[in-house]
Amino acid sequence: MLSHVFYGKINPMEVVVNGQIKQVVDGISVQELLDQFQIKPIRVAVERNREIVTRKKFSATRLTAGDQIEIVTFVGGG
């Protein structure tokens, strides 16, 4: 698991997650990003720079500096 590395100062980079600038460890995967925010993968969909990242590719997809990430879920609506 790389998740503990995230909290260190090793090569941080900036990405934008749901409109907020976040410092993350260089090369973090989508799966690790979700873990960081304690988000269950089964309940969300993820976009990276407007392209959907399928759930199967969460672990293999690594972020680069400046990436725009959207993490969405279902909420109540009509």
Binding site: I39, I71, G76
Partner: protein, 272 residues
Amino acid sequence: MMDNNGLKIGSYTLTSRLIVGTGKYTSLELMRDCHAASGSNCVTVAVRRERLVDKTSGRNILDFIDPEKYILLPNTAGCFTAEEVVRVARLGREMLTDSGFRGADWVKLECLGDTRTLLPEPVGTLQALKTLVADGFQVLVYCSDDVMLCKRLQDEGAAAIMPAGSPIGSGQGVLNPNAIRIILEQLKEKNPDYPVIVDAGVGTASDVSLAMELGVDGVLLNTAIAGAKAPLQMAKAMGLATQSGRLAFEAGRIPRKLYATASSPWEGRINA
């Protein structure tokens, strides 16, 4: 006698003609109970950013919807352009893919004109429909009660047309029943089973019954239940109104006449 024939929309068969929303409930428990009381087996959901902090103890709305019982209908609420609609629809599909829930391949298309009226924007709606149909979606289109627009949307491959009875959440009911009548006549000309659903604006049970008595195939509502003083009771009322309205439509109402027609026989009166 019960209305048992269900409602077929695209590849889905609904056991109830009532589709209910999941918004505005004071608790997820109340939402779940209202869904059960309504008798519906299809519920709409919206796509929004996940909160990165302060997540309500990890509770997700899907944890309060039984995937065995309910089909999810993701909407594109809050979108104002065709581009936004398509983006949100694809995110909804992605979320439902391999999620254990049914509903990944259909969507309620909602492309709004402005925040005050929340009325559908027809040009963006049509553009979004074309893209979504090409992308393999079964599209249920929220639109205005303009028959020409509705015909065009049908021709472009909409799986169902869902004209608003009145503005979203307004509780004004079906403001123009004649427009709905014309839409029904024109859209069902080639295919009597083509689904037309009144979406938005109903306030109480009689609004639902009236819509169903016009011959629409179903009603979609949210605020009328969630915003009622006693939502659970209103949910049951809406389910019954949907059924009674449908039964009355199928039974065929008597024609309206200006003058009276006696129910008791004229012959044999003792004062004759």
